[in-house]
């Protein structure tokens, strides 16, 4: 049995890479992921990647921020120690708008950032997981999980046909730990 874990098709042109994706899809070969040095419009739709769920996280963090500050200010300035500011009632809605608004945004922004970092393993101290280092430079990489996708030569030739400049048979998933 081959020790190959991942087959990487390396392209130097995004259009040829898109062609490679089509070739693989036509032959019902599942694509593990695609790595490109720059964003390519329409690639998510082509790969059938589901919409990001970051928005739900944002909504939850926003609600949390609003509740936290509303509770703090309500407890301190209305319940525990009411103060007379300009003769206004202690609990008046216009007062509560600015900081509730600001904390909603604050929690949403930080919450989204941390959720994104956690989901993508980008937090500090974590070694980046890269399948091919040139994917951050000048190569467009299509990664195919080798397990169960045989024969490997067919995949190699499909990628070569699409214009891959190099096809790698990697025995390790990530190269960046080396």
């Amino acid at each position: 049995m081959s020790k190959t874990k991942f087959i990487l098709g390396c392209f130097d042109d995004p259009d040829e890479m898109m062609h490679g994706i089509e070739n693989l899809q036509k032959n019902s070969i599942p694509i593990y992921d695609v790595y490109t040095p720059m964003p390519i419009h329409g690639i998510e739709a082509k790969l059938g990647i589901k919409d990001s769920r970051l928005g739900y996280a944002a909504f939850c963090f926003g609600c949390l921020g609003a509740c936290v500050i509303f509770s703090i200010v309500y407890y301190t300035l209305v319940h525990d120690w009411p103060m007379n500011v300009g003769g206004k009632p202690s609990f008046s809605i216009p007062n509560f708008v600015p900081f509730t608004f600001e904390w909603t945004i604050l929690f949403t922004a930080f919450g989204m950032t941390f959720t994104f970092f956690a989901a993508t393993h980008l937090f500090p101290g974590r070694a980046p997981r890269v399948m091919d280092l040139r994917a951050t430079d000048d190569r467009f990489i299509i990664a195919v999980d080798a397990k169960g996708n045989i024969p490997h030569d067919d995949i190699t030739s499909l990628l070569k046909d699409a214009g891959a400049v190099e096809v790698k048979h990697n025995e390790r998933k990530y190269v960046s730990y080396e």
Binding site: H41, G42, G86, G87, K88, P94, V97, P98
Partner: protein, 419 residues
């Protein structure tokens, strides 16, 4: 990927669009005439409505110039293929400016008698708070020390002169940017684009500093005792949202008529994002203006909200926020909503109605006060100006040789726009 394209399309102004817009002008003018013939309080209401619609007309055309300018300055690609529509708005600006100057001039010139505190006074129909004779003459029985302190700004020569200069400048820049873009179609090259960029930069500097002054003069001075530094930005937001809504609506309707097949849901998505964002910005400045006044609680400031809190206006005061903030917030929140043509179209229509109400609430409490109404005068003036805007804008659009800027350097980016 195709890098050269040869789209040939020209807008032809004919058929139902022409009939309906001309019909609207006629019906509207009849309604305006009825308003003036009825006399009495109706004349005051007519002047207020004419000021509202002509100011809004100017604002929407200026929004066209503003939109072109920031697209050029940002070197935005997505808007390149639809820039002819805001350019058509910009080309109507000189006519809109003349109409507004005539109405403001007439409002200052024609006077009527009002009885206030038992004294009969002859006051102009518009800007009576500061343009009435004797307000700034020490010793006169009308003397008003607050207006006296503002007479450097609120006097007819300066006020009218500033309006002429500002509207002239906006019209000039709008005209130049449209001309450069049309010359680009035949000449090609980067010269016209670079010129547009330069003019756009200069315009934005001038516009940013003068638009608040324009709003202070034209609208805020209707209640000259009151002042708010937020008012200029509040008006900028209102003008931008209504301008964007009308642009999006025009593009949607043109597409429904079979034009501009290259404009996709991706372009409408970008319009949706701008409309959504600036509706929230509108609410932000609206609330900031309200909040500062509420907190400070100074009589000369809170009078503005006091009069809008009377039963006559209170319902509309709240409805204003519901239509202009809650409606776009809920209707355009999700990504998919911005990509649905009909959702976008109806949101635009709601916002156009909403910002009419917004301007109505800026103007009416200062001019007609409790004699507010909503009938032939309001609807008629709206119909007249709506027809006039549609007619002028579409005939300018049909004068452009091509509905697409054929040699715009970012055209390909726009045609392949995808988000």
């Amino acid at each position: 990927m195709k890098t050269h394209n040869s789209i040939e399309e020209r807008y032809e102004f004919a058929g139902s669009a022409k009939t309906w817009s001309l019909g609207a002008i006629v019906i509207g003018l009849v309604a305006i005439a009825i308003g003036f013939i009825l006399g009495g309080e109706h004349v005051q209401r007519m002047f207020s409505n004419l000021l509202l619609m002509s100011y809004w007309f100017v604002c929407i055309c200026t929004a066209g110039v503003f939109f072109c300018a920031y697209q050029y300055v940002a070197q935005a690609g997505w808007s390149a293929s639809l820039i002819r529509v805001p350019q058509a708005f910009a080309k109507v600006l000189p006519i809109a400016s003349v109409i507004m100057l005539i109405i403001v001039g007439a409002g200052l010139y024609f006077k009527h008698e009002v009885v206030e505190h038992g004294i009969t006074e002859k006051v102009p129909y518009l800007y009576a708070h500061w343009a009435t004779h004797g307000l700034t003459i020490p010793g006169s029985e009308n003397f008003d020390p607050i207006i006296f302190g503002k007479k450097g700004f609120l006097n007819i020569p300066f006020f009218y002169g500033a309006l002429v200069v500002m509207l002239g400048a906006y019209s000039f820049f709008g005209y130049k940017m449209a001309k450069f873009s049309e010359a680009e179609d035949t000449e090609g090259g980067m010269f016209n684009y670079d010129q547009s960029f330069k003019y756009a930069c200069i315009f934005l500097v001038i516009f940013g500093f003068t638009f608040p002054i324009f709003a202070f003069g034209a609208i805020m001075s209707l209640e000259a005792h009151w002042f708010s530094t937020m008012f200029g930005w509040y008006n900028l937001a209102a003008m931008h949202v209504s301008g964007l809504s009308i642009m999006a609506l025009v593009i949607i309707l043109l597409r429904k008529k079979g034009y501009m097949h290259w404009v996709t849901e991706n372009h409408m998505h970008d319009f949706g994002k701008l409309i959504f964002g600036f509706s929230i910005f509108w609410c932000y400045v609206w609330f900031a203006q309200f909040f500062l006044t509420w907190y400070a609680n100074m009589p000369e400031e809170s009078v503005y909200f006091y009069i809008r809190w009377e039963p006559e206006y209170k319902f509309w005061f709240w409805l204003n926020i519901v239509i202009n903030f809650l409606a776009p917030l809920l209707l355009l929140m999700s990504r998919d909503a911005k990509r649905l043509t009909n959702r976008m179209m109806w949101t635009c229509i709601v916002l156009i109605a909403g910002h009419w109400l917004d301007y109505y609430l800026m103007i009416m409490p200062g001019t007609v006060k409790e004699h507010r109404g909503f009938s032939v005068e309001e609807i008629g003036t709206f119909v007249a100006f709506g027809g006039m805007f549609t007619f002028l804008m579409l005939s300018k659009l049909s004068k452009a040789e091509s509905l697409i800027p054929k040699k715009h350097p970012f055209l390909d980016e726009s045609l392949h726009h995808h988000i």
